[in-house]
Amino acid sequence: AQSVTQLDSHVSVSEGTPVLLRCNYSSSYSPSLFWYVQHPNKGLQLLLKYTSAATLVKGINGFEAEFKKSETSFHLTKPSAHMSDAAEYFCVVSEKEYGNKLVFGAGTILRVKS
């Protein structure tokens, strides 16, 4: 079965410093990978998705993720954190190669200090 492991339950950064949220996946095929964000009292919003067209994926709000097959990783980064980035971030994999059922990681809560 496909799975994702988010290595940090909480990450705290200062405003203006880089963000790194780590995710490792397990998949028996070429995976469909996503990062979603959830702000307080809001729904789950797609940040970016891996499409196999490029290993470095750009998303909304300046976030990027790099797919590294050799390391089975899909870490999320942003060069400079903003206060509005404080939220919970989920790394997600599609359970089947051609299906839509999503398997979520446990989530990483990002705190941004002023």
Partner: protein
């Protein structure tokens, strides 16, 4: 921008009561889902729905749960006799198609509290 909308945002119900959670998916989407997140736990898949029938369901989705799309726009999740452990945030989602790299679009969730 089209979005998935869920009502109500909060629902408190007595144990043993029936509850219906409502969702309006994005209008041209064909695949519909319910997920839930118990406080402190992962978001977990409940059920997927396509062409007016369940296409997949998890072990959680037992006989107490049902889904329907009664009028071509709404997509509902019914819990017949709620239990304390059904307390969770329930997310509705929809997708335009099935296949690789197809994301789901989520609603803002309904927080269900069973007392």
């Amino acid at each position: 921008e089209p979005e998935v909308t869920q009502t109500p945002s909060h629902q408190v119900t007595q144990m043993g009561q029936e509850v219906i959670l409502r969702c309006v998916p994005i209008s041209n989407h064909l695949y519909f889902y319910w997920y839930r997140q118990i406080l402190g736990q992962k978001v977990e898949f409940l059920v997927s729905f396509y062409n007016n029938e369940i296409s997949e369901k998890s072990e959680i989705f037992d006989d107490q749960f049902s889904v329907e799309r009664p009028d071509g726009s709404n997509f509902t999740l019914k819990i017949r006799s709620t239990k304390l452990e059904d307390s969770a945030m329930y997310f509705c989602a929809s997708s335009p198609r099935q296949g690789m790299n197809t994301e789901a679009f989520f609603g803002q969730g309904t927080r269900l509290t069973v007392v």
